[in-house]
Symmetry: C2
Subunit: 315 residues, 2 copies
DNA sequence: TTCATTGGTGCCAAACTATCATCAATATTG
DNA sequence: CAATATTGATGATAGTTTGGCACCAATGAA
């Protein structure tokens, strides 16, 4: 490892705010970072960090080196990028982050097919259900529900994400099938609920085109989607959920969409997100493959719903 | 070694035009260069050089990489330089090139003293009697007679270099001391002569301030200064030579300056040459030390001439 | 033709790197 | 406030990489 790499390592340490996090990011031992930063200081003959046993602060020299390191990293990335433009065949490492659900059900099939076609591409898929900083964590591609806030990233819509109201056939037999939104208020509901978001009502557009709120009666709340589904599958509740959440054919799970003639606003769409720069061949191809698999005309999750076109034809 | 270093290595190979020369420049085996360039190609996934067994040419990708490598090298140098500004004490490697005469007689004393004062500084002194490309060969400092042509370099005058006419006392006893320039034409001369330069006459300014040429009679010519001196020391010829060429006190060698009242134009001065950028502490200090030793007021070589002030007082 | 030089390759010793285990200092937590 | 966890530093060790040497094949020069 030489000066440039060490400088970039220093930069990462400063960006992450700690040796440990920087090490984690690279999947290496903390001691490596410690040693390399020390070596960098020795090389340059300058103290870069004022350390305490549990933290550090930048020296004046360190701050300047970090600035330069950022320039170096950018230039180096640019250079590697330039070389990649000469690739005919995609190769190299593709780092993807997605929520675990998306990764498991929608990306894995894409990945398996992709790597059969392009064996030279290594893929690192991270299942993260939290918000990640793509740039500082070095991801090439993210798949998310909803647009990212970070405007330095490009978000490309992969597929719409219709809102569904669902229940099991058995539930409908027991409680009777609701015919209007107002009927829902009397039925037990399973509803998503977290510290931030709470579903206590359903937004929809009525026949006159006016937005309305239909209160519901959540008898079961959870911040875990699969738990809600499980509840619904016990025929004890209906639920409102975005369509992407049903990766398996709906017949298998006995679920039936209800009130399909009601105009529910789409839930946040699925987006592919990537840094604002020229994409390497591998990234571009993977993006295409994912769009094709997930979002070609109708999203793949809608294909799991029988008669989807007929049911929701008003849209 | 990482990508940046390999790119810089590639750049050096291209600059030098061959793997061998690049290896020589770094004092490493050719095989190292060969292996690292191959590795770089593998890393980037692009062929950079079209090779024959005895030479190579750049591919399109290679040309682009070389450009980027130059940017990277510059940025990296700049970064290291920035760090060096924080040094209190000079340290690191100082690469100096000088003609062998200058190195041996004028720089070695400076170096010995300098390294006693600053033991942290490593010095690499190259004796090169040819013109070197400081930038591509990575020198920090050059000491030369005459200004360099390369305007990207800074030349700082270290000391003037008076032209002398010399003979031994014995020579003067045998042939009689010449009183006018015209007298020289009758006397045997030793004259520098190479494929480029030939001394067949002496330029001077006469009493009226007019430039004149005094033809001489060179009975011995050589492109080696020390050979000329040896000839003169055998009492068989006088010679015209720049003062810097006499590093030892003139009494020791029995040499006497003659026709000291004649106004001879100075020979090319001695210059210190360095790349046009901020100098590291070590370079600046060494430059100061050299200027102090060699050129403080009167050049050191003039101090070797007895009564120099009196002899050449008209100037 | 002969010959020296060039770039490439395999082998080996030396240098460097990364991991683990451990330590001391200091936040964090109950 | 004490117990605990976390952080960065350090030393030993195994694994990887590098640089040097010897040798090869190709090629341009004499």
């Amino acid at each position: 490892m030489d000066t440039t790499s060490r400088l970039i390592m220093l930069l990462e340490v400063v960006e992450q705010g700690s040796f440990s996090k920087a090490a984690e990011l690279r999947n290496i031992d903390r001691s490596v970072i410690s040693k390399q930063v020390s070596k960098l200081e020795e090389d340059l003959g300058v103290r870069l960090l004022n350390r305490t046993t549990r933290s550090f602060s930048l020296t004046a020299a360190g701050a300047e080196m970090v600035k330069k390191a950022a320039e170096l990293r950018l230039l180096l990335q640019d250079t590697v990028q330039l070389a990649e433009n000469y690739h005919q065949e995609p190769r190299g490492l593709l780092r993807i982050t997605a929520s675990s659900y998306i990764g498991k059900f929608y990306l894995m099939p894409v990945i398996n097919d992709f790597q059969k076609r392009f064996p030279q591409v290594t893929i690192d898929l991270r299942h993260d259900d939290r918000v990640v900083d793509m740039v500082s964590e070095g991801f090439d591609l993210a798949f998310r529900i909803g647009e990212p806030r970070d405007s330095s990233l490009i978000a490309r819509k992969i597929a719409r994400n219709r809102m569904l109201i669902l229940a099991t056939k058995q539930f409908l037999e027991i409680y009777g099938e609701p015919k209007t939104m107002a009927d829902l208020e009397e039925l037990p509901a399973a509803a998503y609920s977290s510290s931030h978001i709470r579903f206590e009502s359903i937004s929809y557009i009525d026949e006159k085109g006016e937005p309305q709120e239909q209160p519901i009666n959540p008898v079961f709340k959870s911040n875990d989607g699969e738990a809600l589904v499980e509840k619904v599958l016990s025929h004890n509740a209906f639920m409102t959920a975005p369509a992407f959440f049903f990766a398996k054919p709906m017949e298998e799970s006995n679920l039936v969409p209800i009130l399909t003639d009601v105009n529910l606003p789409d839930y946040s769409a699925m987006y592919a997100v990537y840094p604002h720069r020229d994409l390497p061949v591998r990234t571009r191809l993977f993006l295409d493959a994912a769009r094709h698999y997930i979002g070609d005309k109708t999203p793949i999750w809608e294909r799991n719903i029988p008669n989807i076109e007929r049911l929701y034809q008003q849209k």
